[in-house]
Subunit: 316 residues, 2 copies
Amino acid sequence: MKIVSSLLPEQALQEAIQKKFPEIQFQFFKGMKNAFESFQEAEVFMTYGEDLTEELIHSARNLRWIMVMSAGLEKMPLAACEEKGILVTNARGVHKIPMAEFTLGAMLQYVKQTKLLSEREADENWDRKIPMAELCGKTILILGVGAIGGEIARLAKAFRMNTIGVNRSGDQVDYVDELYTMKEVPEVIEKADFIVSVLPSTDETSNVLTYEHFQAMKNTAVFINIGRGDLVKDETLLKALENNEIAHAYLDVFEQEPLPKGHSFWKMENVTVTPHLSSITKNYLPRAFEIFEQNLHTYNKKGVNYKNRIDLSRGY
Amino acid sequence: MKIVSSLLPEQALQEAIQKKFPEIQFQFFKGMKNAFESFQEAEVFMTYGEDLTEELIHSARNLRWIMVMSAGLEKMPLAACEEKGILVTNARGVHKIPMAEFTLGAMLQYVKQTKLLSEREADENWDRKIPMAELCGKTILILGVGAIGGEIARLAKAFRMNTIGVNRSGDQVDYVDELYTMKEVPEVIEKADFIVSVLPSTDETSNVLTYEHFQAMKNTAVFINIGRGDLVKDETLLKALENNEIAHAYLDVFEQEPLPKGHSFWKMENVTVTPHLSSITKNYLPRAFEIFEQNLHTYNKKGVNYKNRIDLSRGY
């Protein structure tokens, strides 16, 4: 069996997986261009999920399984995979730890006045009058309580916060005190001190937050978007921030990425911009390989219980 | 009965406690100078613990209980209190939530590169190459696992960290994986990615961290001091930082406070200075009043189980 990868992990990871499956031929390449020839013959293909097209799927002669080493499937030709009966799995869940840590970090930055303290430090100004707050007792509303949102909720509970979750079903989830569907959000959003979105980009979530949502939020609320930038239109968010409908926004994702130089978000006092890196971590690939390895055992023994198998008709 | 206070809480807190104990006469003053005359007749005295002297204790005619609305007892004339049979309680435990949140905030700042990201933001520079790390899997060594250190350990475990604790007894504590005494620290300190001190200032803890301790730490280690500034000599810490024995220090407490303008710590790239505010929070007095109220019920019914009763001979 031949496994081809269009991502080139560090040598140690390559050797570790090869050692565990000595009977399998692994070929790692940097990018699809280099992988292309081998891809034609591959039975299993590893990819970040952004380099495949319908044509490529149809050109592959032996392809039976694609392991997407990320959680995003927006650029995957899923219909073609379904047509050819190709198994697709992804690395969903690998993001939850770094993204949840990033979120708690942002919330602590806010209540612990990190930015202001840093300015005072630059001025050598010993100022103990800066008002310090706490996460304890505050309420977080999490848009999307799947793997990532659930991990955020777990940490929020450890910080003695109240947790409100929003998911498709409205069904109960661990560490979430109250659960609602997206339709019910306008009625509960006023309770939240922090509104965090981890929603992916789908037809359902595109522009789902409107100006009315921001108007309904507390003026002291903090909005954190680590999901996708099309959750809310730039102009809507800008207006809400300019009108002080909320106190601050931590934005890691944007309608247009990279966020263009000169965009208002960069310079606004009540906005903190980070370059879409909440999920980035040195532990990323090792964790994705763990999932791949587990699934490879399943594949080898012709099992059926794959971790993170994608339902190709639903797309997730 | 007359209860006198040299601290002046906001009106709402004053009214709340008065309403709960209508038979008691409460008098609140701003500072000892204003409280002095009433203090002479007080049966119970509330203080931050920094305005009493032996002479004052002996001058008070009816004093039977002092509630120190802080955790620090360094400036309390405890011997005089013992001599006169005065009950002393304090607000130990009130600090644990803000201080533990502050500590986790500092650690997340470090691994999530908050400072560097903020510089990039100021330059409108979309830089995704900044190496992002995690708390998950890292090891924290906590010097002093009492109320505060225990709360830090609890949160660290929630972040999937390994926890090493140091206390007087070496006895087991919740959420602490391994426990040692101060003498054993040099043997285990090399395991730690974060070394956090919450130790108070006592004869045992003064200058207890030496250059050898810093040499034994990982070069990538982060030192966080939210206890007392005399844990380590400025010159020792400076030398350790200049020689890159550790990667970074978050310092909230100092040998001399306020930290003087021009002190090297203010400008060093690998030092973050904050003005002794890790324990400050808007929730501070409400929480201290909860303890006071609980103890006042005990006092009224001539009970014995006081919360945070100080052993006057031991001093804690």
